[in-house]
């Protein structure tokens, strides 16, 4: 499964209880929409680390990597090398 699809499924299931908001696509702004809040970011990182065997450091915790599903997928691919 593509990273985008996997992330899409994870966010809908864990953040929106299975009901995606309108216009939720891979460029949906996860920061401005409030999707990524303090609690959710912790579970999201754990999920990505386990799913793709990557490790997030504290200096990776900046909004640009979390802006959208596409941004997250790109960052995970970059990390996975």
């Amino acid at each position: 499964m593509k990273i985008q699809q996997s992330l899409h499924n994870y966010i809908i299931s864990e953040r929106f209880a299975g009901r995606a908001p309108e216009k939720f696509d891979d460029d949906y702004d996860l920061i401005d929409s409030g999707t990524i809040d303090s609690l959710f970011v912790m579970g999201l990182i754990t999920y990505l680390e386990q799913q793709y065997q990557v490790e997030f450091g504290m200096n990776d915790m900046v909004p640009r990597h979390f802006r959208s599903v596409n941004a997250l997928a790109e960052f995970v691919q970059h990390k996975a090398g």
């Binding site: 920061i31 409030g34 303090s38 912790m42 200096n59």
Partner: protein, 488 residues
Amino acid sequence: MKLNLAECFFQKAEQQPHHPLILGPGAEDKISYAEFRAEVQALAKHLKDVGVNNRSNIGLHYPSGRDYVAFVYAIWACGACVTPLPRELTAPEKQQIFQFIQMDGVLSSVDLLDQICASIQPDALCITPRAVFARVEAICEAPPQLAEVNAAFIRFTSGTTGDAKGVVLSHESIYARIQAANQTLQIDATDRILWLLSMDYHFAVSIVAYLTFGASIILPKNSFGVTLLTAAARHQATLIYGSPTHYNMMIQDDTGACLPAELRLAIVTTTALRAEIADAFYARFGRTLNETYGIIELGLPAINVSQAKEKQGSVGQVLPAYELRLDCLPGEQQGEITFRGKGMLDAYYSPWKSRDAILQQNDGWFRTGDLGQLDRDGFLYIVGRIKEMISVGGMKFFPDEVESVLENHCAIHAACVFGVQERQWGEAAVAHLVMEAGKAAPDENELRAYCKQYLASHKIPSRFQWVEQLTYTASGKRIRNAEKLPLP
């Protein structure tokens, strides 16, 4: 007449109606004391109309934020008590709370209702566009002694099946502990507090104090460093209340954002502050972090305000309203931290144990389960835990709960879960597992998927290690201290 914290807030709103109470996340979220009082009173009327009264205990199942504060105060304004149902818990974990603590109804986010449908009646009533009220299926009974307490909160803490606790806090106890803490914190209407923690776990000493003493609360949109720093600067924060992880996030900010000159305290709570974070924060911002010691049963009996830099690593001197006694073995300087003082819990819920009964067990002193040491100036240093609580990013849990889930897996004979230091979230849980004879070892992904059915994600161990046997003390107690465990 009984004290009610909602009335304390209403009085403050009367004194300073136009003073801002909530600032952020967006400009449209700003609300004054008078506006918020009107919102709370309207919600309370709605709740009274659906039957909430001064004998009710209401579960609150809603994300932290402005609405959460309004709901707590509206429930209190009805004379009812609040039991938080943290949203990050899994459906079975939430069900455990319903089985343990009697609730008459739940105020829930519409989006989260599916997770508690097994415990509530189906005809939920709309309270706001995003919140519903549902009656709870009668599963358990409240202890009769609860009626004698002017209860404001019942906080559930999980443990093994027999160790789950409900900490009962009355309006009087909460009021006493915020007065005690404010002798040192000195919060007043000139303060603007950047709030970063979960309201399910942190409300009784902090949010209540801010509303009682007339401060403003800054709510950021998320916890990225740049967001926190921008919110602090925009609203000229005078105080920050967060976990080490939040301060670490600020250090990592790469936009060059600064802290406001008005900042007078940067409170660290939830877990021990690593020296490297304290040092890096000082190097980046020229500010020291103020460590504290707080537990739900006691409030905030120690805060390092006076010598945060000189005594880095200490949670400070004991506040005037409390007394500290270290229960040391003869000849030792470290001992279990015990306290007595204002605003202690009123009771444990089930089996019911009153404050007096709890204190009588230890000559009138409350045993914290933490190990501490005092320096010559009376500054307290936390050196370890007797209770093996784990704190991941400020979210606390006991290993027993995770072990009992793991030991229900058909391939696991025994499990030992313990905390290890971790850079990102402060601590991480690790599980040592002993395989059931004749079974094949499941891989880590399978174990994680299994745990996810029963445990909130922060409780799921980051590592699973198979061992021949667990390590026990001479008296047969499981050793959960990472330093004393053999490497597998």
